[in-house]
C-alpha cells in the first residue's frame, strides 16, 4: 500500500510541477531584461566601489604652537569613510600634527600573499590630506601564519620573515605617505606575546629579520621598536617583564642596530606629569629612565616617540584622576615634550576616539565621543594649541 501511495504522490507531484518550455522572448522583453541587468551591474559597482567614499577635500595643514602634539587614533575598526575623515579633521582642528594608527597584519593580508589595502588607503590618504604625519603600528598575526587555535598575537620565529614581508608590502605601498613603522606592540606583556613567557631576545630576532627587509625596500622609512608597557611586575612574573629590564635585555641581545627610534608608552596613572621618575613607580616621567638606558647603551644619538600615554578620568577606575587633573597633566605633558625633552619627537596620547563605546574605563581616555561630541579636554587641548589655554 505504501508503494502505491508513494507512486501516486510522485505522479501527482510531477503533474503539478511540470514546467513547459519558455516561449521565445519578445524584443521588448529582451530590452527590459537588458536594462535590468545593466542597473544591477551599476548598482553593485556603486555599492562596492563608491558608497564608502568621501572626497579627500583640500590639502590642509595643522596649526599649533607645539609641533610635538599627537594622538593615537583608533580607526582600525572604523569602516565608515566619512567618520574616518571626520576623526582626522578633528585631530587637525585640535592642533595635533602626529597620529599613531594600527594596521593589523591579519586584516590586510588575510591569505598569504593576498593583500587588501582599501581601508589603509582611506585612513592614510585622509590623514595626509589633513596634514597629519602617520606613525604606523604593525602587528596581529593572521591565522595562516600561526598554529591553529593559537592567539592572534602568537608569532613563531620561523614566521618573522612572513611578518617582514607584510611590512615590506606596506612600505612599498605607502613609503611616500608613511615614514614611521612600529614593529609590534608591548612585547614585554605575555598577553601581547601570544600568552607565552615574554622573550626580549626573541623580539630582537624579530627586529633583526624585519628591519633589514624594511630598509632594503624603503631606506628612508624609520623603524620604531620597543613600545613597551610600563609595568612593575617582579622578575619571573608570568604576566610581564619590567619595561626597564626588558629594554636593557633588548640592547644585550643586540637590538641597537635594528631600530631607528624608541617607541615609549608613558601613562601618568594617578600621578602628576611632573612627578619625578623612579624605578618603582609608573608615571609620565618614567620615559626619562628609558632614555637613560638608551644613552647608557651608546644609543643617545637616536630619538624617541611617545606612541601611547596620557591620563584617564573615569569616575571609578582606581588609576584615574579627576577631569581637571587630566586636562592640566595633558597640557603639561605636551609642554614637557616641547621644552624639556629634545630627544623626544612627539607625544601621541591614547586615544582620540573609539568607533563605539567600550563601556569601561577605556572610554575615559578619549578626546571625543563616539558621536564626535568634543569632550572638554579636546576643547582645552585645542585652546592650548592655539595659545589661549587658561586654567580656571
Amino acid at each position: 500500500m505504501i508503494g502505491r501511495f508513494t507512486s501516486y504522490l510522485r505522479r501527482k507531484s510531477d503533474a503539478v510541477n511540470f514546467i513547459p518550455p519558455l516561449a521565445a522572448w519578445s524584443p521588448r522583453a529582451k530590452k527590459l531584461i537588458g536594462a535590468l541587468l545593466l542597473c544591477t551591474v551599476f548598482g553593485l559597482t556603486y555599492r562596492s566601489g563608491f558608497r564608502n567614499w568621501v572626497p579627500l577635500g583640500p590639502q590642509r595643514t595643522v596649526e599649533t604652537i607645539n609641533p610635538k602634539m599627537g594622538v593615537h587614533t583608533r580607526l582600525t575598526d572604523e569602516p565608515d569613510a566619512a567618520k574616518i575623515k571626520r576623526s582626522l579633521e578633528m585631530v587637525r582642528e585640535m592642533g595635533a600634527p602626529w597620529i599613531v594608527e594600527y594596521f593589523p597584519w591579519a586584516y590586510y593580508e588575510p591569505r598569504r600573499g593576498q593583500f587588501e589595502w582599501s581601508h589603509p588607503d582611506l585612513v592614510i590618504d585622509h590623514a595626509g590630506r589633513q596634514g597629519l604625519t602617520v606613525i604606523a603600528r604593525l602587528g596581529y598575526v593572521p591565522a595562516w601564519a600561526r598554529p591553529e587555535d593559537s592567539h592572534h598575537l602568537y608569532l613563531e620565529e620561523e614566521n618573522y620573515e612572513a611578518f617582514g614581508r607584510y611590512a615590506v608590502e606596506f612600505v612599498r605601498r605607502y613609503r611616500d605617505k608613511v615614514g614611521y613603522l612600529i614593529i609590534w606592540n608591548e612585547p614585554n606583556l605575555s598577553l601581547e606575546w601570544g600568552f607565552r613567557p615574554v622573550d626580549p631576545a626573541s623580539y630582537v630576532k624579530m627586529l633583526k629579520v624585519v628591519y633589514p627587509m624594511v630598509k632594503a625596500a624603503a631606506p628612508e622609512v624609520q623603524v620604531l621598536a620597543g613600545a613597551l608597557a610600563p609595568t612593575l611586575d617582579p622578575p619571573g612574573s608570568e604576566w610581564s617583564m619590567n619595561d626597564l629590564d626588558y629594554l636593557q635585555r633588548m640592547y644585550d641581545a643586540g637590538a641597537a642596530d635594528y631600530f631607528d627610534i624608541l617607541a615609549i608608552h608613558a601613562y601618568g596613572l594617578g600621578f602628576d606629569a611632573d612627578e619625578p621618575a623612579g624605578e618603582s613607580v609608573i608615571n609620565f616621567r618614567r620615559s626619562e629612565l628609558l632614555r637613560e638606558i638608551m644613552v647608557r647603551n651608546g644609543d643617545g644619538g637616536k630619538t624617541a616617540m611617545i606612541t601611547e600615554g596620557g591620563w584617564n578620568d573615569h569616575p571609578r577606575w582606581t588609576r584615574a584622576v579627576r577631569p581637571a587633573e587630566r586636562i592640566l597633566n595633558t597640557v603639561r605633558a605636551y609642554e614637557i615634550a616641547g621644552a624639556e625633552w629634545p630627544w623626544l619627537e612627539n607625544v601621541c596620547l591614547w586615544v582620540f576616539r573609539f568607533p563605539w563605546d567600550q563601556k569601561s574605563y577605556q572610554d575615559y581616555f578619549t578626546f571625543v565621543g563616539v558621536d564626535f561630541e568634543p569632550k572638554a579636554i579636546y576643547l582645552e587641548m585645542q585652546a592650548y594649541a592655539e595659545g589661549r589655554f587658561e586654567a580656571p
Binding site: K12, V16, F18, R316, W317, I327, D357
Partner: protein, 311 residues
C-alpha cells in the same frame, strides 16, 4: 528509476492531454477544483490510508506543539534553587554602591539590593568580587548569575546579555537650588551654570552654549566646589552627574534636579540572555521592591535623605 518508470510517473490521474503546456495551464487555473475532486475520490476508495495519514499528522503536530513549543528550561534558575544562592558579580571599589568594610566584607547599595532581591526568591545573595572590566565575561561564562555593580547599560551587548530596567540614573542633570523656580535649560538665559571643569557636565554645558543657550559657564576644579557655588548663590544652576548629585543631596545640600536627563547613564542589572525565568523573576522582584518603597529606603540608607524633592 528507468525511463519507463519516469514516463509512467508523470502521468496525471486526470484524462491525459496531448498538449503539455495547455494541460499545465488548465491545472494552474482550476487546480483547487481538481485537487478537491481527487482527494474526495481517493478518500472514498482508501479510507484506511487516509485515517492513518491523519493519525500520523496529529501525532507529529502534537509533538511539535507540546514538546518543542513548551516553556524553555532555565538552567541558571534551577542551579540557583539547588544551590540556595544567587551569585552576583560586582567590583567592590565604588562606594556607596559597593565597597569593602574593615573586615573585608562587601557592603553598599548594590550589595543590599542583591540581598533584597535574593530574599524575594528565598535565596541568599552570594557576592563574587570581580574587576569591573571582567564582569561581563564572568557572566557570559557562567561564573556568576548576575552583575550588579553600578553597571551601565550597553546596547551593543543586548544580543548576549539581558538587562533589567534601570534602578539608578547616573546621567548628567541640570540642578538648581531647592527653592528656585528654574525648570529647564531655557530658563537660564542670562544666568550662570557651574560645572566641574573637564567633566561630562562641562562638555554638555559647552554644547548647549554652541547650540545657543544664553548662560555663562562657570568651571570649577572639583565637583564639590561647583556644588558649593550653587548652594552659596554664586551660580544659578549646576550640571552634574546623578551619583554626585545624590551624594550631595544626602549630605544635606538643598538642591534638586530639574528637566530631563541630559546624558543618560542608567545603572542596570545584567543576567544571562539564556535565563528567561531569572529575567522575569528579576523584573517582578524589582517591581515589588519599588511598589513597597524598599528601593527608596535602600537609596536613603546609602545616600542619605534628600533635602529637596526631585522632579
Amino acid at each position: 528509476m528507468n525511463e519507463e518508470g519516469r514516463r509512467e510517473g508523470r502521468d496525471p490521474p486526470q484524462a491525459e492531454t496531448a498538449d503539455a503546456s495547455r494541460q499545465w495551464l488548465v491545472a494552474g487555473s482550476h487546480g483547487s477544483r481538481w485537487t478537491a475532486f481527487s482527494l474526495r475520490s481517493n478518500f472514498e476508495r482508501r479510507p484506511l490510508l487516509w485515517i492513518a495519514v491523519c493519525v500520523v499528522a496529529l501525532a507529529v503536530g502534537g509533538w511539535l506543539i507540546l514538546g518543542a513549543g513548551g516553556p524553555p528550561v532555565d538552567g541558571i534558575w534551577l542551579r540557583m534553587q539547588e544551590r540556595g544562592s544567587w551569585r552576583v558579580g560586582m567590583d567592590p571599589s565604588f562606594p556607596p554602591f559597593e565597597t569593602l568594610d574593615a573586615e573585608g566584607a562587601p557592603v553598599g547599595y548594590d550589595v543590599d539590593l542583591a540581598r533584597e532581591i535574593a530574599a524575594e526568591w528565598g535565596l541568599e545573595a552570594e557576592i563574587v568580587a570581580i574587576g569591573f572590566d571582567s564582569l561581563l565575561d564572568a557572566l557570559l561564562v557562567g561564573r556568576v548569575d548576575a552583575v550588579i555593580s553600578a553597571f551601565p547599560y550597553n546596547a551593543r551587548m543586548t544580543k548576549d546579555v539581558h538587562y533589567s530596567p534601570p534602578y539608578f540614573e547616573a546621567g548628567v542633570r541640570l540642578v538648581v537650588g531647592a527653592g528656585v523656580a528654574y525648570e529647564e535649560v531655557g530658563d537660564l538665559e542670562g544666568g550662570t551654570v557651574a560645572v566641574e571643569w573637564g567633566s561630562r557636565g562641562d562638555a554638555i554645558a559647552r554644547r548647549l552654549q554652541r547650540e545657543g543657550a544664553g548662560f555663562t559657564r562657570l568651571p570649577f576644579e572639583s565637583a564639590e566646589k561647583a556644588i558649593e557655588a550653587l548652594v552659596s548663590g554664586a551660580s544659578d544652576a549646576l550640571l552634574i552627574d546623578g551619583v554626585t548629585l545624590r551624594l550631595a543631596q544626602g549630605d544635606g545640600k538643598p538642591i534638586r534636579a530639574v528637566g530631563a536627563v541630559l546624558d543618560e547613564d542608567p545603572y542596570v542589572i545584567a543576567v544571562s540572555i539564556e535565563a528567561p525565568k531569572l529575567q522575569s523573576a528579576l523584573l517582578q522582584a524589582l517591581a515589588t521592591l519599588k511598589e513597597e518603597g524598599r528601593m527608596g529606603l535602600l537609596e536613603e540608607r546609602w545616600f542619605g535623605k534628600t533635602a529637596g524633592s526631585e522632579e
